[in-house]
Symmetry: C2
Subunit: 239 residues, 2 copies
DNA sequence: ACCTGAACACCGTTCAAGT
DNA sequence: ACCTGAACACCGTTCAAGT
């Protein structure tokens, strides 16, 4: 039935509209400004209609989080076509993550919040499952690169470490650092190297520790970092 | 005036009571179950009285977060008396952090949440300042140990890295890993080494990267880790 | 000077009525 | 079958009245 197909399409379009409107409200006025009344008014739908799509307010937040993850995955996929040795390409992913959080700080706040139980316990199971699936896709891009490094002979993991250990390690430093970076000016008197290369510094030392060649003592990654950073920044700002 | 001193003391006792009751409610029923009515009933004070202490609900959450940080700092202070080379002692701090989050998962959720702007923008400036000060004290314990490692000749930082870079790096991996660990069973199909040594694994590789001696290739830290972990676990469960 | 809790305002959620 | 928005319930915040 074509009618059914159209209905389905219209339903999805409406969901997109709802999420986009919600995102705009949050970006402009913060999460606390997102109310069902406001969202209904902005989209010109009744409040009841919103509940056809989302089980509760937290479910909307998770919907936004899901969008963010998919966006991040798309960015990672583009970046994995980047030329260079595997370690440089991993740095690319780090930069991509960093630029993403800088451009969409409100979304990153949601990514952080969606890890806490307060939000998860209210959202619908389906949405949570979708988030986990999207999470998995992002992690796969990292995993993939680690395996490629092994195949290229640029990485030999220490005896007790698995691919997923390294994958989680990278994910953790990046996530942790970027999450804490929000609070950067709030923590007084930290004498840090300039903000940009901070993530590079941490990832570099971690990868040196895992002995992912060429080591940072063998190659100057800061030049690569700066070049890629500027390149990506232009690429992403054009979107 | 002694009356004033007594008043002050009673005021502080009441604040402690309010925070303890709030914590109990959150532990038992989750953050969303914490309402002003419930807190007033539990403490046998009127709702208006709560506002003598806290500017809003989020201010209470930040108050709990502050308590957590101070508790963590006390733990770190105890742990810094631990004997051994500086790298082992740093691992101790990591274990302390890990055990802390395991024992008080709800509090850790608040520590994560208090980094997001949604909460910060509502809490009182004074409370936020206190949190930053407490944060600083915790970081100082880490910094201190790094400096001691330098003095002991066990650590020579790479040319571009500062003490605070390493400090933040350690803080980031730990925070990131522990924050993500909550979602551990939710991310399907991750083939990871058993949960306990996961943090050790990441910290070890990071410290190897920073060339903090003795390197993990020179010493078997997993034995030290297990011993300290069990020791601390007993110590903390007795509290 | 401090505490109280009724009253208010706001907002998430539901569901009977309408199309 | 789907959409609507009035009505409801809940909860954070205030402040006039009481001690």
């Amino acid at each position: 039935m074509t009618t059914q197909a159209r209905r389905q399409r219209e339903y999805e379009q409406r969901e997109t509209l709802l999420l986009d409107s919600a995102r705009r409200i949050i970006r402009r006025e913060g999460v606390s400004a997102l109310t069902m009344d406001k969202l209904a008014a902005a989209t010109e739908y009744a409040k009841g209609t919103i509940y056809k799509h989302f089980s509760c307010k937290e479910d909307i937040l998770c919907g936004l989080c899901l969008d963010s993850l998919r966006h991040l995955h798309a960015t990672f996929q583009q970046l994995s076509q980047f030329a260079g040795n595997t370690r440089s390409r991993m740095i690319c992913l780090g930069i991509g993550y960093q630029l993403y959080t800088q451009r969409f700080p409100e979304e990153f706040d949601l990514l952080v919040a969606a890890r806490s139980n307060n939000i998860r316990e209210k959202a619908s199971p389906q949405r949570l499952q979708q988030i986990d699936a999207a999470d998995e896709l992002v992690l796969n891009r990292i995993r993939e690169l680690i395996v490629q490094a092994q195949e290229a002979g640029e990485l030999t993991l220490p005896p007790r470490a698995t691919v997923d250990d390294l994958c989680l390690g990278l994910w953790s430093v990046s996530f942790g650092l970027l999450a804490l970076e929000h609070a950067r000016d709030m923590i007084p008197g930290l004498d840090l190297t300039p903000p940009q290369p901070l993530l590079l510094q941490q990832i570099s030392c971690l990868l040196d520790g895992y002995r992912w060649h060429p080591l940072s003592t063998e190659t100057d990654y800061s030049a690569i970092y700066t070049a890629v950073y500027q390149h990506l920044q232009q690429l992403m700002s054009r979107e």
